[in-house]
Structures are given as C-alpha cells and as structure tokens.
C-alpha cells in the first residue's frame, strides 16, 4: 500500500480536546460516495472547517495550521468511535496527519489507521492531559522506542500491536502476509468442508 515506512515522527500538534470525536465528524457521510481513496483529505472535518457557503471558517485549527508542520492530532478520549469507514483514516492521512494521540482510540478506527500509515497512539491520562493543554507543541513520536517526547522528556510510553508495528516500520501491508498463508487456509477449508 502507498504509505511511507514510519519510524520517528517529529512534528507540531493540533489539539482537539473534545471527547468522543466520531467518524461522522472526521468525514461526514456525504463524502463517502467515492470509489477511490484519494482526495478525501480535502473533506476531513469538513463541517468544522467550512461554513454553510463552503467558505473556510477562521479561526479554525485546521485552516490556520500548516499540515506540513502539524502532522500530529491530539484528541479527547474515545477518538474515532462509530463507523468502520476507513475513509476516516484516509481523510486524516490525506490532509497530512501521520499520528493521532488520545487516551483511548476506538478499536476499528485503530485497526484501520494502522493499515494506512496513520499511527494511533494511546497514552496515559497524565500525558494526555499534558498534551491537551500544550497545543502547537513540537513532540516526537518514536515507533521504534514506543515513546512520546515533549522537549527533552519522554512523557509517555505506548503500545502498538506487534504485527501492525512491524508493518508500519517497514512500510509493508498485511495482505502479503495473509497471501503467504494460502496453504494453511486451503488445509482449513479442506478440514471444515
């Protein structure tokens, strides 16, 4: 899949302190009538970024920050809840985000994000509170050491499912791995048929 290997990301944060940011906020359903995964970045958080007439709202975090320098989204708890739409991580990635940090991230979103080069980072309450209250901070997210660093200090350690981590570190997608299991799959089918 088309994403770069992920090792260490040093970038500034965009903070959305709100809890329960669901996939309908990340990408409203009316933008799902697409047959491609490209171009969704323009619609990310659309209703937060644009007014009724489609004009960019200002101030608006997303419209005021440069996606080249602000690749890390820090969000309130239960981020990405709701639908299984992979359009949500596609849109965040398309906009320029490479990592999302929260105290807890919804299961399906996490799984989808990991498959698309967007790192979901779950940190403890203390680090979460610190990041939420320090918007625009430059931080480092290290996928090899599994740490989040603010200034000189490692403020959090996080876990990433081992397999997904390897895939991300190497920029490979898991379909290749599954395709290598063809013999086992055929044996299972023969056994249960």
């Amino acid at each position: 899949m088309a994403f770069e290997p992920f090792k260490t990301l040093v970038s500034r944060t965009v903070v959305l302190a709100q809890d329960n940011i669901d996939t309908d906020q990340i990408i409203p359903a009316r933008f799902l009538t697409t047959t491609s995964r490209d171009g969704l970045g323009q619609s990310v958080f659309y209703d937060w970024r644009f007014d009724e007439a489609g004009r960019p709202k200002r101030p608006s975090l997303f419209n005021d920050y440069n996606p080249d320098t602000h690749k890390i989204l820090v969000a309130g708890s239960n981020f990405g809840c709701g639908s299984s739409r992979e359009h949500a991580p596609w849109a965040l990635y398309g906009f320029g985000f490479r990592a999302v940090i929260s105290s807890d991230i919804a299961d399906i979103f996490k799984s989808n994000a990991l498959k698309n080069g967007l790192l979901p980072v779950e940190v403890d309450q203390t680090a979460h509170a610190q990041l939420l209250t320090t918007p625009d901070a430059e931080i480092a997210v290290d996928l090899e050491k599994l740490t989040v660093t603010l200034g000189e200090a490692d403020i959090a350690h996080f876990e990433v499912e081992a397999f997904a981590r390897q895939c991300l570190l190497n920029g490979v997608d898991p379909l290749g791995y599954l395709l290598k299991q063809t013999r086992e799959i055929a044996a299972y089918e023969a056994k249960t048929a």
């Binding site: 309908d24 009316r30 209703d47 498959k115 379909l175 791995y177 599954l178």
Partner: protein
C-alpha cells in the same frame, strides 16, 4: 480438566487457521462475507491492482443499501440517485460482482435490503459462523450465535483475497439482563439503557455476550436490535447463544441447511452455548424490569435517559458541547420538546416486528402537522410482508411516507436527510453530530417511541398510546 468455554471461545477456536503469537495476530477464517457499495470499491481496486481473484465468491454476497435511493424509479425507470457519486458506487459494485462472480442482491432483486437485515432473512447468517462486512453494525448477526464483526475496507480486501482476517482475540464481557420487560419497553430500550450504564466506550476491546432471562425471552428481531447496538458501547462483537428461538427462525430459510444437513447443523449449534463457570473479564448485570422507554438527548449514544425524565443540565465540557448542539431545554420534560421529523428504519429497527410496533401506535391516528415521518422497511421482503398485513396503509393513512428499502436516514447519504436544526426522533443507532444531515439533532428511540413522537409532535412516551389500544380492543 479443561477450562469451561464461553460461546465466544468456541466460535473463535473453530475459526483459527493460524494461531495468534506475540508477533502476529490469529488468521481467522470467515464463513460469510457481506459486501455493500460504500466500503468495497477501494478493496476491489486493490485486488485488481494486484491481479488477485476473490477466493470464495460462493461465501460472498453483495447488496445495495447505503447510497441507494428509497424513492421509486421515475417513468423512464431511472432511480433518483442523490449524487453522481452515489450512482457510480452502485454501478461499481454491480461491475465488481459481475467480474468476480459474486452474487449481488441488486436493484430489482426481491431479496435486496439492508445488509444486516437480509443476511439473517435469507438464512445466510447461521449459528457458529464467522460473519464480516465493511460496516460496524455487523455485530447484528451475533444474535444468532455467530461471530460477527465490522471491518475496514483494507480488511474487506483481505477477506476477498484470502477469506481470512488478521485479528487478535479480544477480552470477553457478559451483560446479563434479568427480569421481565414492562409493556411498551423493548430491545432498543435495553440497548440504550445498557449503553447509558457502561458508556460509549464501556465495551471497547471486548466481545460482549448478552445473557439472562430477559435476553432469552426476546424474539430474534429483538436480539438483533440488541446485538446491533453493541458497537455503540464500543464493542466490535455482540452475541447471544443460539437456542430454540434461533433455530425456529433459521429453519426453512433460503440458505439454511435442510434435511439431514439440518439435523447435523442443529447438533453442532446446540453445543455452542457458554458453559457454566466460563470466565469473563468483565460482567455487568442489569435489572430489565426497571427499564423504561429510553431516548438519547446528547450526541453520543450513552447520553440516554427515560423518555419520561427531564432534559438534564450539562455538567462537563463535553456535555455542554452536546447540549449546545441539541438545544433541548434543560430542566424541561423531554415530552415537551418539539419534533420536526421522525425516521423509522435502519438495520437496528426496520424489521417486520419493528414496523408492527410503530403501526400499533399510529393506527387510527395522524402524524402531527409539524412533523415529516418516514418509514423505511429494511428489505424488500420486509416491505412485502408489511404490505401483506396492511401496515403500509396504516402509515400512509397516518400521514407518514412509506419508502423503498435501504439505509436511508440512518446515514443520510442517499439523499434522505433532515434539514439543519431539525429535531429528528430516529430508530437508528447513531446520534452523532450531522449523522442525519448537517446540523440535524438526532434523538434515538424505539419504533414505538418514534411513532408516538410523530403523532404527538413532541418527544413522546409510547405507553399511553399502547394503553389506548388495549382499551379500544
């Protein structure tokens, strides 16, 4: 002695192709893959890009529901697609199914419907199966004692190519409902009461088994409603052990085993139930006899309360944010809050029993003049059955619209949507900001509560309406 096993343990074990290790998740075999137009095009594109074929087209079924219009075709036979994109999605799925030899229950097919309604209806969903779909409400199928869960589009591609997904086994949780439900209270109210209790992330990382006498007493439709809402508590999996109610429902359906195969299947299915003393990482008990008709008042499904309560004053920043959006008057009874639109439908509540429940309230009454009410059956089969018993006539006489099957206002991507600022009482599953149209304020409720609200023009407790019915009889 081996450890006592839960339903979930058994379902999981039986589908492991390659076991889980610290380095890699389990390779889990999928028996039934349901596909729809919105989350599949990019997956088929990956397959085509790599020159791969669909491994088991015979275990894959597709339908059109999400961006499909619920208004009939015009005189020229053209469907009123909301956007060229919606039409393209439908055409893309038709082409992909043709190319890969997948059975499509497409436009004009008498078996078409919402993916989670038709799977069970056709007998495709069976106890003991693994079922996936690129839709988070796939947990619905767990009502049959199946291991059913929503997947993302990349995983849709994995299943198309290999019939497997990579998945680590989640922790297990049991939610036990005891006690008899009061009249006018149903599975949707149970689901909302549970989510209010454990929170929108209370089931995160867990597979939920619903158990207890109240669950056993539920019809299959009710069980599906309950499992459907598991994801609104954050749980990807929701399931109920199969029993006679399940077997009766499955028996005789198009894809159900028959003859000797039925007897063999039954023997297998009877062994699926959770064994005594099986352990759960988390257990919650709910006294179902205390549940009253429920509604949501916020923008997350756990903001749920009895319909007879007052709108609460927000306490936290998140609640304040939700209250600012919902604009319900704090301290005022919910039943005094004006309703603009009512939606009866979605994979949560669009089955025949749901429509009967709504019709029982609407029969002989009229929708308030300030309210637009939409009734959207879950499938062509539900539509036919409802029309055969005259439910459509009840709705139409009451001033509601009777539509073609589809997801409709549950996700509002086919053109069916509320207008900005409208308050919509909806039998669907998500009250997220903008879910039913930009600026729309969604109140989730049961079919009876939604129907009562349509009649009253305000959020309404369905029980008085149902009492009247009894007095009339």
């Amino acid at each position: 002695m081996s450890m006592p096993k839960s339903l979930f343990d058994k379902l999981w074990e039986r589908h492991v192709v390659v076991g889980e290790t610290p380095d890699a998740p389990a390779v889990l075999y999928i028996d039934l893959h349901l596909v729809h137009e919105v989350t599949s095009p990019q997956a088929f594109a990956v397959l085509d890009g790599r020159g791969l074929k669909v491994r088991r087209p015979d275990n894959t079924f597709a339908t059109l529901d999400h961006s499909t219009p619920t208004l009939p075709a015009n005189a020229k036979g053209e469907l009123p697609f909301s956007t060229p994109g919606a039409r393209r999605q439908v055409e893309t799925l038709i082409a992909n199914c043709e190319k890969h030899g997948i059975e499509l229950l497409g436009l004009g097919d008498p078996r078409r419907g919402i993916v989670h309604v038709i799977g069970p209806e056709l007998g495709l969903t069976q106890p003991g199966k693994t079922v996936v779909c690129g839709d988070s409400h796939t947990s619905t199928h767990g009502a049959f004692g199946a291991l059913a869960f929503g997947i993302g589009t990349t995983e849709v591609g994995h299943v198309l190519a290999t019939q497997c997904v990579l998945q680590r086994k989640p922790k297990s949780m049991r939610v036990i409902f005891d006690g008899a439900l009061s009249p006018g209270v149903g599975a949707k109210d149970m689901a909302l009461a549970m989510i209010a209790e454990i929170g929108a992330d209370g089931g995160q990382g867990y597979a939920i088994e619903f158990a207890g006498e109240t669950v056993r007493a539920l019809s299959m439709e009710g069980r599906m409603t309950l499992c459907n809402m598991s994801i609104e508590a954050g749980a990807r999996f929701g399931m109920i052990a199969p029993d006679e109610t399940t077997f009766d429902w499955v028996k005789g359906r198009d894809f159900a085993p028959s003859g000797e195969a039925w007897a063999a299947a039954l023997a297998k299915w009877r062994g699926l139930a959770t064994e005594e003393r099986a352990e759960f990482a988390k257990e919650v008990r709910i006294d179902a006899s205390t549940i009253r008709p429920m509604i949501t008042y916020g923008v997350s499904p756990d903001a749920a309360a009895p319909v007879c309560a007052n709108a609460p004053a927000p306490r936290t920043a998140a609640e304040k944010h939700a209250a600012d959006y919902m604009k319900l008057d704090a301290g005022r009874p919910f039943t005094e809050q004006e309703v603009n639109r009512v939606f009866i439908g979605s994979c949560t509540n669009s089955r025949l029993s749901d429509l009967r429940e709504a019709a029982a309230v609407m029969r002989g009454r009229h929708v308030d003049e300030g309210v637009v009410a939409l009734v959207v059956p879950g499938s062509e089969a539900v539509k036919r059955a409802a029309e055969a018993e005259g439910l459509d006539a009840v709705f139409v006489a009451a001033g509601a619209e009777w539509r073609e099957p589809g997801c409709s206002m549950c996700i509002a991507m086919n053109g069916d949507a509320g207008a900005p600022g409208e308050l919509v009482v909806s039998t669907s599953n998500r009250n997220f900001i903008g879910r039913q149209g930009k600026g729309v304020r969604t109140v989730l409720a049961s079919p009876a509560t939604a129907a009562a609200s349509a009649i009253a023009g305000r959020i309404a407790d369905p029980r008085p309406f149902l009492c009247d019915m009894k007095e009339d009889a």
